[in-house]
C-alpha cells in the first residue's frame, strides 16, 4: 500500500497540514514533511511502525478516527486529539480521517489522517481573550484596549494613577488590574472610599491615631497608609476628600511622611497611590474643592474610562460575562440572549454604565425560566426608555457587523425619520420599512416626546 507515486508524494509534501497513512494493520506507510515538522519525527524512523506506538494519541484506545470512519462509512473532519511530539510534549491537533480503498474491490487498504496543530492557535485565542478580559475587566472596544495597553506599559512604574469615569464604569476594577500587573502585586493592597468617612475621621482612617486623640479613640490604631506600606493604596472618590486631609495626602506623596492623628512622631511610608473619582475634577479645582497641586501629584498616569454608551461594542462581551457569572451564581444554564433583547440593550444609553447593565442582566436572570434571556424579561425601565432615548450612535467605535435594527435607526435618523427617503436608501419598499419598524418597535423619538 506504500505510496510510491512521486507526484503523490510531491503533492502531499506541499501541504501545510500534516499527513500520514497507515496500512490495514495500522502500520505507518507515509508521513509528509509537514507532519515531520509538527511532530519532530523523521519519516525513516516511523515507517513500518504501528501508529499507536508512534503518536500515542488519546484517541487510539477508544476513539481511533480511522475506526470511526470504518464503522460509520463517513469521513471525519475537524476532530480534536492529542499526539506525542518527539520531545515528549503533548500536542493538541485537529484532524481529518478517511479510508484508503482498493479501487477495484473497494476493500479498505488502510487509512489517511491529515492534521494541524492547534496548540499555538489556542494560545492566540487565549491572548485575544486576555485582552477582552483584562484581569477581570471586560472590554473589547478600542478605548478599553488602549487602557489595558497603558496599564501594561506602566506596570513597572510606581507612579500615581488617577482614574476618572462615570459612576459604574468599573474604576475599582481598573485599579485592581493596575495593582495586579504592578511590581507591588504581592504586597498589601488597601482600599479606602473617601466619601464614606466623616471629614474628621478620614484623616484617622488614612494615617491612624493614638489613644485619646479624639473622642472615641480608646486605643492606638494604625492607618491605611501604614497597612499598605510597600504596597498600594486605592483612594476611591478622592474628590470627596476634605481640603485639610488633601494637604496631608500631598505631603505623603511629596515626602513619604505623615503623623498619626494626635501624635507628633513622623512616620515614613512607601505606598503607591491609585486615586479615582466620578466627579469633574477640573471643575472641583476651579471651585476650590480640590487642590490643584495634589491633582498634579496624583495625575501622573491619567486614565479616563469612557461611559458604556460610548463603547456599545463592549456590551455583548459584558452580557456574555454576566450570563456566565450568574449561571454560576444562580445555578442556571442560561448563556444566550435573544436578538431582540440584545438589540434593546445595545441601544439603551446606560446612564448607570456597567453596574446598571449587570443589574439588568441579573434582573432578567432571576426571572428567566428558560435557557435564554428574552426581551420581556428585561427591566421595564430599560424596555421603555431604550426606544424613547436611544444612545447616540458612536462615530468613533470600530466597525461592527451592523445589525438591521441599528442600520434602520441610523438611516432613519440621517433622513430625519422621513420614511420614503430612508426606504429608498435601504433599498426596500415603504411598506416593508413600516413592517420592520413595527416589528422592532422603532418610533421617532421626537414624536414620542411630544
Amino acid at each position: 500500500m506504500a505510496l510510491t507515486n512521486s507526484l503523490t508524494h510531491d503533492i502531499l509534501n506541499s501541504l501545510g497540514e500534516g499527513v500520514f497513512t497507515v496500512d490495514k494493520n495500522f502500520r505507518i506507510t507515509f508521513l509528509n514533511q509537514a507532519a515531520e515538522k509538527i511532530t519532530g519525527l523523521q519519516k525513516e524512523e516511523v515507517l513500518g511502525k504501528f501508529c499507536k506506538h508512534v503518536f500515542s494519541s488519546d484517541r487510539c484506545t477508544d476513539a481511533c478516527p480511522i475506526v470511526k470512519v470504518l464503522e460509520t462509512g463517513k469521513n471525519l473532519f475537524e476532530q480534536e486529539a492529542t499526539i506525542l511530539h518527539k520531545n515528549g510534549h503533548r500536542l493538541k491537533i485537529r484532524l481529518n480521517a478517511s479510508i484508503l480503498h482498493n479501487h477495484e474491490t473497494r476493500a479498505p487498504l488502510g487509512g489517511i489522517i491529515s492534521f494541524r496543530e492547534i496548540s499555538s492557535l489556542e494560545e492566540m485565542v487565549r491572548n485575544i481573550e486576555r485582552t477582552a478580559h483584562f484581569y477581570g475587566v471586560v472590554g473589547h472596544s478600542k478605548a478599553m484596549r488602549e487602557i489595558f495597553q497603558l496599564i501594561e506599559e506602566v506596570s513597572d512604574s510606581d507612579a500615581s494613577v488617577f482614574i476618572q469615569g462615570e459612576s459604574g464604569t468599573g474604576k475599582e476594577m481598573i485599579a485592581d488590574a493596575i495593582q495586579k500587573t504592578s511590581l507591588r502585586k504581592d504586597k498589601p493592597y488597601i482600599k479606602v472610599n473617601c466619601s464614606v468617612f466623616p471629614d474628621q475621621l478620614l484623616a484617622s482612617e488614612l494615617f491612624g491615631h493614638v489613644k485619646g486623640a479624639f473622642t472615641g479613640a480608646i486605643k492606638d490604631r494604625i492607618g491605611r497608609f501604614e497597612m499598605a506600606n510597600h504596597g498600594t493604596l486605592f483612594l476611591d472618590e478622592v474628590a470627596e476628600m476634605p481640603l485639610h486631609t488633601q494637604i496631608q495626602l500631598l505631603r505623603v506623596l511629596q515626602e513619604g511622611t505623615f503623623e498619626r492623628v494626635g501624635e507628633s512622631i513622623t512616620r515614613r511610608t512607601d505606598v503607591r497611590i491609585i486615586a479615582a473619582t466620578n466627579h469633574n475634577i477640573e471643575e472641583a479645582i476651579e471651585t476650590g474643592k480640590f487642590r490643584e497641586d495634589l491633582y498634579y501629584r496624583l495625575n501622573v498616569i491619567p486614565i479616563e474610562i469612557p461611559p458604556l454608551r460610548e463603547r456599545p461594542e463592549d456590551i455583548p462581551f459584558l452580557i456574555e460575562h454576566f450570563l456566565n457569572k450568574f449561571s454560576t451564581t444562580y445555578k442556571k444554564d442560561i448563556h444566550e440572549i435573544e436578538d431582540a433583547a440584545m438589540e434593546l440593550l445595545l441601544c439603551y444609553s446606560w446612564p448607570g454604565n456597567i453596574r446598571e447593565l449587570e443589574n439588568a442582566i441579573e434582573y432578567a436572570f432571576a426571572r428567566c425560566k428558560e435557557n435564554i434571556i428574552r426581551l420581556p424579561l428585561l427591566p421595564p425601565k430599560i424596555r421603555k426608555e431604550a426606544h424613547r432615548f436611544p444612545a447616540p450612535l458612536p462615530s468613533t467605535h470600530e466597525p461592527l457587523q451592523e445589525s438591521e435594527y441599528i442600520r434602520l435607526r441610523r438611516v432613519l435618523e440621517k433622513h430625519q425619520w422621513n420614511r420614503s427617503r430612508a426606504a429608498q436608501e435601504l433599498g426596500m419598499g415603504r411598506t416593508t420599512l413600516w413592517r420592520k419598524l413595527k416589528a422592532y418597535g422603532l418610533v421617532n423619538p421626537r414624536k414620542e416626546e411630544k
Binding site: 495500522f26 504501528f50 499507536k52 470504518l70
Partner: protein
Amino acid sequence: MFEMLGNQFFLVRNYPRAAVMLEKALLRDPQNKLIRRKLIICYTQIGEVQKAFDIFLSLIKEDVDFIINTDPVDDDCPCPELVYNMESRIPENLSSLDFHLVAGMLWLYCDLHRSIEFFRSAHELAPSNPRIKAALAILENRSRKSSPSSEKMQ
C-alpha cells in the same frame, strides 16, 4: 473492513471487540493466517478456550512456524505480557486443563519449549483427549527438527 477493525481493536488490546471483527473477517477469508493468529489470542482472553484451541490446532497443523516466528516487537504481540500475567495470577475462571491449554498456546508465540511443557501438563490432565495429543505431537516434532539457534527467547 472487518479485518482492519479487528486489527485496530487487537492493537489497543480490546480483545472482545477484536474477536467479533476478526471472526467476521475470517468468515470471508477462512485461510488467512494473520487473522487466525490474532484470533487465537483474542479467544484466550475472553474465555473461549476451545474456540482458540480449534484454530490453534488447525494453524499449527498447517504451519506451526507461523506462530513460532511471531515477533513480539515487530508484530506487537501481547503474549509475553499475557503469559506473565497469567502465571503470576492464575485466572479464576479457568479450569486447570484450560489454564494449561491457554498457557501452552500463548507460550508458542514466545517459546516453543515452554509451550510444550504446558501441553504435556494438559495431556497429563486429559490423556484421552486426541486433539491435545495431536497438538503436543506437532510441537514435539517441531522441537526435534529445530536447531537451538533457530528458536526464540531461549
